[in-house]
Symmetry: C2
Subunit: 379 residues, 2 copies
């Protein structure tokens, strides 16, 4: 199993990308392919005395995607970018996962074109981990898609269910629909529709989830469209930043503050670690036919290392096979939903690809997974 790391992706690339690759190879023995401008990557790698003994190879890509490049343009104009070449390695089966801290929109666009979607998935979703009072919740979509239809949010719920089940090891994760009131009737037009769809499944659907419940950890999986998810996530970062700045001012502005900080320092460090994004190591783009991890633009080397480790875990746990099985089984239970989705998925042979009998069966009749690769191929 090899994992591709976008050597040119991120605010501090290639330094942090190479550092992350070195750390992952050194600490976990993961084989890495770094894509990007070869001389630059070599120069960075040479900073690590043990680099030549690590399972890291470089694949040259002459083009670099900028953080401000337009995703739709980049797909056409930069066909030799570190992202495109990296994702093609996953598509071709040479690598099992792709990790990038680069332009999220570009990763999304390239992934859509290169890897395509899993059967039954109409749009992919970014699934982030949120620290809560009870532990960890998964929120999706955190920004891949705006203007989602009910069917798409329904698919996000299924994918979130599988992700929480295998990744958080929660056998029956609770699923909440992010909305503006607890009552069934609350929400906008789209959430009201998806509410009815989720009610008809055997998922542990707990109904609408108000914003005030999010950090209480009352839902293991929080479903919303990417416009709202992105704003919810970024506004949280913004508030945390404000509170952090205020706390810092309190501590530094007086002797009492300095003393207070002296006594509290270790506790603050522990809390910071709990909520630090770099400990989480990025978020998977669920729904594409391959494992794709999106790391924060300002990722440190450690964050990239953790994203690589997370990618390996998703491959080992065969996340995409389970998503396919789960979508099929839920749709099988509810013929009409199945039909709805079928209509949206581009012309597959429905007769041949009838869904399996029950959720999470070991073998789905319609598809198999190459264990090492995380991509699902049709029979």
């Amino acid at each position: 199993m090899k994992i591709v790391v976008d050597g040119m992706g991120g605010d501090h690339a290639p330094e942090t990308a190479v550092e992350g690759a070195v750390l992952a190879a050194r600490e976990y023995g993961i084989s890495i392919i770094l894509t990007g401008v070869e001389p630059r990557l070599k120069e960075e790698l040479n900073k690590y005395p043990d680099a030549k003994d690590l399972p890291i190879e470089i694949r040259h890509a002459e083009e670099v995607v900028d953080m401000h490049d337009s995703p739709s343009k980049v797909v056409r104009s930069k066909r030799r970018s570190s992202m495109k070449i990296g994702l093609d390695l996953v598509k071709g089966g040479e690598a099992s996962a792709f990790v990038s801290a680069g332009n999220t929109g570009a990763v999304l666009a390239y992934s859509t074109f290169s890897l395509r979607f899993l059967k039954g998935v109409d749009r992919p979703a970014i699934a982030i981990q949120l620290p809560t009072l009870k532990g960890t919740s998964i929120l999706l979509d955190a920004g891949a898609n705006v203007d989602c239809k009910a069917n798409q949010l329904f698919q996000f719920a299924l994918m979130g269910h599988v992700y929480a089940k295998y990744f958080l090891e929660n056998e029956n994760p609770s699923i909440g629909l992010l909305s503006i009131g607890e009552e069934d009737s609350k929400g906008n037009e789209t959430t009201k529709e998806v509410f009815k769809m989720l009610k008809r499944t055997n998922l542990n659907f707990i109904g609408n989830l108000e914003g005030k419940e999010v950090y209480r950890g009352n839902a293991d999986v929080i479903v919303c469209d990417g416009f709202i998810g992105n704003i919810a996530l970024k506004i949280s970062e913004s508030l945390a930043e404000m509170i952090g700045t205020n706390l810092k001012e309190m501590f530094s502005s007086s002797l009492a503050g300095n003393l207070g900080y002296f006594f509290m320092k270790s506790k603050f460090t522990a809390f910071k670690k709990k909520v630090d994004y770099s400990e989480k190591g990025g978020a998977p783009l669920l729904g594409v036919n391959g494992v794709c991890m999106i790391a924060h633009g300002s990722s440190s080397g450690k964050a990239i290392k953790n994203a690589i480790a997370r990618a390996k875990e998703l491959i080992d746990k065969k996340i995409n096979l389970h998503i396919c099985e789960d979508i099929e089984s839920h749709l099988d239970d509810k013929g009409s939903l199945w039909q709805q989705i079928v209509e949206m998925v581009s012309g597959q042979d429905d007769e041949e690809e009838k869904p399996g009998e029950k959720p999470n069966s070991e073998e789905s009749p319609s598809q198999k997974t190459d264990d090492d690769e995380g991509t699902v191929t049709k029979k």
Copy 2:
């Protein structure tokens, strides 16, 4: 000038509503009409020895709106509620403003039916104050309307502009459109449309505002639909709650924590005061033809007092007259926008009500304000 307080509205009504009325009458000499079940209100009032000397009167209303009542049903089924009777006092000119900590949806529904909207306003918006690193920003809509059209968000921007101008005393407030990226092209279908509309005005429109910018205070006015605004607000409360709980645990779990808290206590109290909603005293429902303040359901007596004081300030500053003038003047500048709005507003005589020459002129040709009342009447 009299202000109506919904005596039965809020989680802790009538206790807190009566306490707020007493405090506002005592401290600011504001004349209050308390609406609600008379014996209950009298009983509460009698707890204050000086109540009989304060300018507080009671208006009996036998029906009470419950926090879980459906707003659409309540408008028809509870025509003798403390809310309906209170808003009718404003409509009839006997009072100048209405304050309630009760069921927000019900206040919104009753206001829509009783007070109706200001000319040029298609939907009202709840305008909340957010504490930021730079001071205070206004976010609207915080939950009055889901599924907003671009024209409605455009109107929210105009109302937010006026509110920030007169309430925050900021002559040229910056206006940001809450979205998922800074670039002009980012957003969902609705925000992209309103972006173009705002670009054409002479407002200080700074473009899209990402969630991460919100608490940095980079926009004085933040425009979004009520679904997103409500989630943004509630998720902020949720995160603050989680951080607060974690801090409390840190402080109480060890001797070092106790010592740290001892040194930091006064600073924490100051910070809490800065972000405490009860200091803010509720949020105005902008766009209805009358001053209507919505206070938090769990408002304390002090929070109600502050909401009453805020209502008085809005009346004194003639907020609704200014909103009317501003909407007319902006629409005048841009004929096509004016036309768009005209089509949405129910059959007024457009010829007679041509907009004024420039923003904020002292006298609008089409309407005048009864100084004491905050409602705007047509000539």
